[in-house]
Amino acid sequence: MTHVYLDKLTKVYPGANEAAVSDFSLDIPDGELVAFLGPSGCGKTTTLKMIAGLIRPTRGRITFDGEDVIAIPAEKRGAVMVFQNYLLFPYMSVGDNVGFGLKMRGVDKRTIRQKVQEMLELVKLPDISDRRPNQLSGGQQQRVALARALITEPRVLLLDEPLSNLDAHLRDEMRELIVSIQRQLKVTTVFVTHDQEEAVLLADKIALMFEGVLQQFASPDEFYQRPISERAARFFGGVNFIDANRNGNKVETSVGNFVFNAKNSDNAPEGDSVLTIRPEQIAIGHDVPNGENVVTGRVRSRIYVGTYTRYKIAIDDCEIEAIRSADLPGEINEGDEINVHFPSDRIWFVPRNSN
């Protein structure tokens, strides 16, 4: 278990005009599973490689349990990386691949054999030690790569897009395996992904990055309920953004005037801001009673997605999206005039121009 601290980590590649990673600070507690999430090219893998010691930061500090590790080379740092495309050594057996890290440390052959078997059992592949990497499926190769990293008992485990090369079924299986092993070994783990769903399902906390800058570091739940910016909200499926003018716990918008819980306004200043609410948190229907925070809208379109239906609703000149469970009684069709309820405890604000 290692407490990892990144302090204003910055990387500018030679010849580049802009920093790939800029003033990135993060506190990763012992034994946590943290996701670096963001679109391609946002600096996630660069940051991961800086933690591993494979890329030297231009500025900033990295500490493991308070010890500055910047000067410690990758081979001695104890931050082991599992690459996206597994990179099993094709000329070695599975057993030799898994035992590679111990061999490099000069551990005796008998101990290596024993530990290799333990690790293969941990990743639920106990009988493949003698096979060659080209005889394994993608999922098996990923597990072997994980075993090869874990055998060295790393201080920090770094996973680069661990599930992106797997099909949907294997992805679920691998996700469960990673979480269960991480919980069992309590190794501080950072993984990189561009898939918001993957981050939510795997991570204790998510560091959202755009253009090399950390946007928000929070639990998955917070990203849904309390996004820091419009862009962060959009990355997590937010679609409703309405210009608003706040005054106390009341807000005026182009779709109506609402009241909201005062604690939901911490993120944006008084006055001009943007109201946001998740589509699944808006209540719609003919049976929604008139009252506070209820306005009338007309259904422009409906898309049936199996377990739920997605509606686009026009309210004056504005259009919002709402999701309604398919199990709920009462039918809503295109063109219907319906009541739309913005629950006061679900309304959230982000600053204007926070794209």
Partner: protein, 292 residues
Amino acid sequence: MTFWERWRIPIMLAPTMAIVIILFGGALYYGFLQSLGWQPRIGNTELSLDAYNNILFAGPQTEQFWRGLVLTLWVSFASTFLSAVLAIGSALLLRQTFVGKRVATFLFQFNLPIPHVVAAIGILFLFSQSGLISRGLAQIGVIGAPNQFPIVVRDSLGIGIILSFVWKEAPFLGVIVLAVLQSLGEDYEDLARSLGANRWQRFRYVILPLILPGLLSGSVIVFAFTFGSFEVPAILGVRFPRMLSVTTDRFFRDPDLNSRTEGMAISMIIAVIVLVLVFVYQWLSRRAIRQE
């Protein structure tokens, strides 16, 4: 499956295969017959192993052959090994980013299209006792006179020949290794680093096994070429011992047409030795990789 679908690839390969089989196979067959003494133009139609016996065991050329074989093996192994070592070192440096990389890469590959005979003459002009280097060193007083410069050209150890081959073949192997390294990228090494491998271990357990298949194929070509190459040892070699290819040429151009039989016998022996050594070389190398 139609006839065309079934035979399409063999039919398309046929012109190439015909050239290989007719030209190479025909020459080999004819050469083998000549090595057995079959020369109807001068009335020899009886087949025997006399030429092989004369060369290998009890003829006036036996010593020339065995000493020549030792020299040929030495030159080929040394040239191939040194070229491979230089190729690996150069490719490892050239794949990195540094000031003047493009110029360095161009210079490294510059001599690839230059004929071997030009390389041999270049070595002669540079490294002989009357060459540029010896005269230059004498001029600046490092040696008293040009003839004090060590004999590295037209020497019995074949150093000039080896130099010439290395000068030509190191870039050839280097291009192969560089292409392999560039296609692999640096992820394998980064992975090994993160697993605790130091610089030497990364070379020994990661880079070398990954480049070895390409390097082996290239080395086999270099070895076979240097073993049978004629023009470089003809220019840079001594009269005794001669490399086998030069001896073969002497026999072949001897006014006495009976000598061709010995020449062809040596050619056949060269072909067999090269084939056997190539197989052994590959087998040993693959075994070495597996044992790791």
